[in-house]
């Protein structure tokens, strides 16, 4: 008798359908490229965040005229730049800064885009109209001009200001994406059913609508994360990014604007460029696997 009960329980456990995380994990396991990317990504991030913990950022940013443009050696693993600063140290701190910036920009734009997109999509009508006109306005603004102006007038330009200004412009795409999905979801009967069951609007949005757009959010989040690393670097390269006192991948690459550095002192800009390439590619590959996991028809696993 007891045996019977036990087997019944076992079956029940097996019957539970795989959760979202399990599906994602299976998809990544099936895709060797994504799996490799994930391992590389995790290794780089662990190393960078771990190592920067033991490094003194001030010490690295200190100018030392006795060791300008040294080639890689056992003292300076990746040589030094025109201020005699250790490139390897700058690479570690710079990767950490660039990734942190990218992560927070993506996070903040996701939060703003998600909440406004869900509101606009769920309520539609006038709410949708107001939010969409605000988005149109932000898109119509000349982004680069604004960034340049802010960079010039802000007294202390640091990572936080940079995150803030980028967030101001980048949430619109996400809001539009989420809105379009929410618009199609709200016409489905399960939303109507919740309404007739007396569930308040905020509960419907959070507990019924949100889980159904979640796969879209995750995929978009990962792909944006990769894009935003490049974004920071390109702005810094143009000279409107972070000051040299806060090393980032962009500052390292921007040294290559000097033709002498570009031609003869590869150790300054090649590692940073490679780092960006590897980070962006591996995040993208993981993102692609997630994208497939989110869509049952594309799944491999």
């Amino acid at each position: 008798m007891e045996m019977k009960v036990e087997t019944g329980k076992n079956i029940q456990v097996n019957d539970v359908s795989p959760s979202g995380i399990k599906i994602i994990w299976q998809e990544i396991k099936k895709d060797k490229l994504a799996m490799g990317s994930l391992i590389i990504l995790a290794a780089i991030l662990l190393f960078v965040y771990g190592a920067s913990f033991f490094m003194d950022a001030k010490e690295i940013a200190k100018v030392d005229f006795l060791s300008i443009y040294l080639e890689p050696s056992s003292d300076y693993w990746l040589g030094t730049d025109y201020g005699g600063r250790d490139v390897f140290g700058q690479l570690i701190i710079g990767t950490r800064n660039s990734f942190t910036i990218s992560l927070f920009i993506t996070l903040f734009t996701a939060i703003i885009g998600l909440s406004l997109g869900l509101l606009a999509g769920y309520f539609g009508g006038a709410t949708d109209n107001v939010i969409m006109r605000v988005i149109d306005f932000v898109i119509a603004l000349p982004q680069l001009m604004f960034i340049i102006v802010v960079v010039t007038i802000v007294p202390i330009f640091n990572v936080y200001v940079f995150i803030l200004i980028m967030t101001m412009f980048l949430w619109t795409g996400k809001a539009r994406l989420i809105r379009s999905k929410a618009l199609s979801e709200r016409e489905l009967d399960y939303i109507h059913a919740s309404q007739t069951l007396g569930t308040p609007h905020w509960k419907i949005i959070l507990f019924q609508l949100l889980p159904n757009v979640s796969s879209l959010i995750i995929v978009n989040f990962i792909l944006n994360l990769a894009g935003n690393i490049g974004l920071e670097s390109s702005l810094t390269f143009l000279g409107f990014g972070l000051p040299e006192s806060t090393p980032s991948l962009g500052t390292l690459i921007s040294y290559a604007r000097n033709p002498d550095v570009l031609e003869n002192k590869w150790w300054i800009w090649v590692p940073a460029s490679l780092m960006i390439l590897v980070l962006m590619l591996s995040i993208n590959f993981v993102g692609q696997a997630l994208k497939r996991a989110a869509d049952a028809r594309q799944r491999r696993g």
């Binding site: 019957d15 359908s17 009967d189 399960y190 059913a193 309404q195 007739t196 069951l197 308040p200 889980p211």
Partner: protein, 308 residues
Amino acid sequence: MTLLKLDNLKVHFPIRGGFFRRVVDHVKAVDGVSFELQQGETYGLVGESGSGKSTTGKAVVKLNEVTSGQILFEGRDLASLSRREIKPFRKDIQMIFQDPYSSLNPKKRVLDIIAEPLRNFERLSPSEEKKIVQDFLDKVGLSPESIHKYPHEFSGGQRQRIGIARSLTLKPKLIIADEPVSALDVSVQAQVLNFLQDLQQEFNLTYLFVGHDLGVIRHMCDRMGVMYRGRLVEEGKSEEIYENPQHIYTKRLIAAIPDLEPEVREDKVQLRKKLTSEYESTYSKYFDENGRAYDLKPISSTHRVALQ
């Protein structure tokens, strides 16, 4: 006892166009519908697609905004209540949806789906809640172990029963069934319909049954109304309408029911031809110059027809 009374209900949707998206016209989805539902009966609304039958049902649960008219539920006018004020009535009026594939949230477990109304109206401990959900699952003929499954693990008929279980948890007085079986195959249809009738007995439910399948409506309903272009054209007891249709639209609708006897096929064809010519010659008797059906006029104590 009258449970629900619709009085000259109108649901119009604006058509916007031109410069500044002005309202240029209205789609009169429901245009002056009046009928009553008695406690414990099943009232059928039939009509072709686009005739406004579903819109009428949805207006009762406030999924559509009412343009004018009254929806009296136990004497209170639902049409004039705001979303907040209507909340207590949600308990008494529930809806079963047409499409069992979209009416259950694919990301939710059965337990969460069926317990949703309970969580809105009652404070229950998780174990009490689980017990109630399992009881209802048992009632609708699903295994109580399925509470941890997701909707996609069930067939269409099973899903529809989950939807029915969800609408029953609050012990409503009135259930709006919006074509509850039209997405199911025939063998499952009969199963679900009989099961709805059993539940009606058990919980003393009143159904407003919206459908286009005349066979299903006849099987289910005590009384019925025939809708055409947002208007009721005929209303009465089911047998009156099936045996003695008075309005030309009803006649043609009944004549369109396919017959399984091959011998009578020729007769049927003749009957339909006859009705078509009758429709053309007597059109003005049933519809005014705008093609709108006239108001209902009683021809017996229970039977009303839209005649000039």
